[in-house]
Symmetry: C3
């Protein structure tokens, strides 16, 4: 099966077979980043624009490294320096970019659905690098790759996602991705951070971290958005950390081969203790490494194939 | 005829024959941006520095894309991050850049004449990417290319420039460019926005938009600088829009093949209505596409030729 | 002798023979920047990350130009846009970068010792681009190269360093570098800007500029940090300039072949008068040119050699 989509907007729209193609392509690209000469000419002369309306060094750098290792030319546009400050709309900005013949626009935007709207308006391929509280599909794909690398398969694994499920695009994309690939998904977090209709997505909801830890093959901790703290419905960060933070003591009831994941950046001592984040079960840095491979795979699948031949 | 200038500082200094060479060179470069591999090795190993003292994502990105499609290495320096914040003068900054052996310095600066001063001090070629309210020559050249592409010729066309003529470097460069190439130039705008000695430049001045629309083969709308609004001598934006904004009703008296141009970014609903900006007569996005070609041509003409041989 | 270090953290750790290797390698790289095609494929496919926690266009641009002239891929991360704003620690940021397989991390940080700590934690080579008031080794190396180019040798030269010695990483690295290479080092500055134990480093301390000028083969003026002015213990900038600023009058007692150096950016009329900065003895712009060559040499010595074979 080939990958025939123009854009990568979310996990929700992907078939399991498409996800499989992405993961397998990423697997073949992982090796390139371990060579002394970390570069192949695959996308030479292609133009990749990173259009970021929210600051994100990690995700942008990962995309930029992925593009340059495939020899594409990259351009970074961030909201703070762009004509967005002059009041231009996203569509006008994008149509203007389009007129410069980019092959891919990688968009991060605070509005859910912004990449979908953009994709309908431009001929370039659009990759969603995070849209509001909606989706963050490349994060979910790199998470899948990390689980598969470590567990051999995704199907049949029990994955626990812990934290602020309601406001997390990482959680949303991972729930779609994991259930599509046959994993069992448990979530746990404060009542106020669990959306009401989660069970419709095939997810089992728990309120205590202690209930999910012994069940889980994979524990995926979410980042607490410190900037949203004023609106948090738990008394304090200290309280949150005590109840939902992962530390060695709580981890003592986990399965022996459990994987600990986190999308980063980590709030050490809040949602995860330093000894767990840096401990033997943590694959947090593998996730970062896999992020480059997933983004190389997507760039290749979206613009590397047909146009060449 | 060859292009023998060291710098591209303004339209005022150019001969019509030099403009012709630029346009014809740009024409040959347009095709490169439509290829899957949008890159030629022409300027490999050349160093192009973008030194921007005013924010401008569009113009900078256009220059950066132009340079990279010619395989040059590009470096971006913006006022907010540079040692300008440490109080260094433009000349010191430029002399320092010079010591790193750049081939081209693309300068945007709020002071009229800054690129001219710079060009006398450095050996590198200087391209003016906008100096205060003085000139924006690459904009005028891309406008010429857009008119020529659509009308076959520039000579003999009647071009109406509408808006704040007095404070617009786009207007100034276009008046030089269009009159040199044999076009008839009409301008219209509020009294307070029309410089007094325009007729000396061979331009016909009108106060009503309605007077110039039926005459024009090309209507070039200028951007209203919303940030200058407090100093505007019209009562409100709403009033400005009513009197000098271009909408479908006013356009109904235009010639059947009229071209609508705008340098961007557009204030939709202020100087131009969305239906006109996106309508069948609009070549606004062609202007953006031509911007890349013009900038490729200039880089090539300034540094691509003689040094190679 | 080969250069076998993983990192370039400071001058203090270098043997004179290692400094010699760096200077000689830089000498061979200088010529590349004078070619029309200023690029060699030496580091093609290598990844160089510039991680700057303090703004510095000059130093970053110099490193970036050096890396690109060796065909490396470069990535810029600055504190203001990075996840540092989300509270992430330097180590977490670095471990994350590491997971993307960079070959070199160039770090500027306000904390003395930050590059040393980083170097112990990551496999990538670390280059110190300035750490607090501690070291700025690439500046000292480019200063050595400039002296050697102009004087033939460093050993035996008398070098006077003038200004705020106590708070200057440039002074500290140069004191190590010059004494290691056999130069005689004199310093002069206000009492409050001279560290107490300087004589232990083999440096002679003076309080009057007039005392050192006639002795010096090289006069190295330091930049006064205008932002620290409130904390200065001299009455005013005007007073500082009068006593410790270098002007033509004071220079009249200097040796006939004296070299005037300054790390830039210059405060014209404060620590140095314009006529001296731009005068016949000034090698300030040579220093900038040599900065690119030194940084090319270091990138080559750290990652260009062994991995290839």
């Amino acid at each position: 099966m080939q990958f025939r989509k123009k854009d990568l907007l979310g996990i929700k729209q992907l078939e399991p077979e498409e996800i499989e193609v992405i993961l397998e392509t990423a697997e073949t690209f992982k090796e390139i980043s371990t060579r002394p000469i970390k570069k192949v000419p695959t996308l030479r002369g292609r133009t990749v624009v990173h259009l970021f309306y929210e600051p994100s060094t990690r995700t942008r750098t990962s995309f930029e490294i992925a593009a340059k290792r495939l020899s594409a030319d990259t351009f970074n546009i961030s909201a703070s320096t762009s004509s967005i400050v002059k009041g231009e709309t996203l569509v006008d900005t994008a149509k203007n970019l389009e007129a410069m013949n980019p092959d891919v626009i990688v968009l991060r935007h605070s509005a859910a659905g912004a990449p979908h709207m953009l994709a309908r308006r431009v001929e370039a391929s659009v990759i969603n690098a995070g849209d509001g509280m909606h989706e963050h599909p490349t994060q979910a794909l790199l998470d899948l790759l990390t689980i598969r690398d470590n567990k051999g398969t995704i199907s049949g694994q029990t994955v626990a996602i812990i934290g602020d499920i309601a406001h997390s695009r990482v959680a949303r994309s991972n729930i779609w991705a994991l259930t599509k690939m046959g994993a069992r998904v448990l979530v746990a977090g404060p009542n106020t951070m669990i959306p009401q209709d989660l069970d419709k997505l095939g997810v089992e909801v728990f309120n205590r971290l202690e209930d999910v830890i012994p069940e889980a093959d994979v524990i995926m901790m979410l980042r607490i958005q410190l900037e949203r703290q004023g609106k948090m419905l738990l008394p304090t960060l200290r309280e949150y950390s005590k109840v939902f933070g992962l530390n060695e003591e709580k981890l003592s009831t986990a399965k022996p081969e459990v994987l600990i994941m986190h999308p980063g950046p980590i709030n050490r001592g809040v949602e995860i203790s330093p000894s767990v984040a840096d401990g033997p079960y943590s694959v947090i840095l593998d996730q970062v490494t896999n992020g480059v491979a997933i983004r190389m795979a997507l760039l290749y699948l979206l613009i590397g194939g047909e146009k060449d031949e």
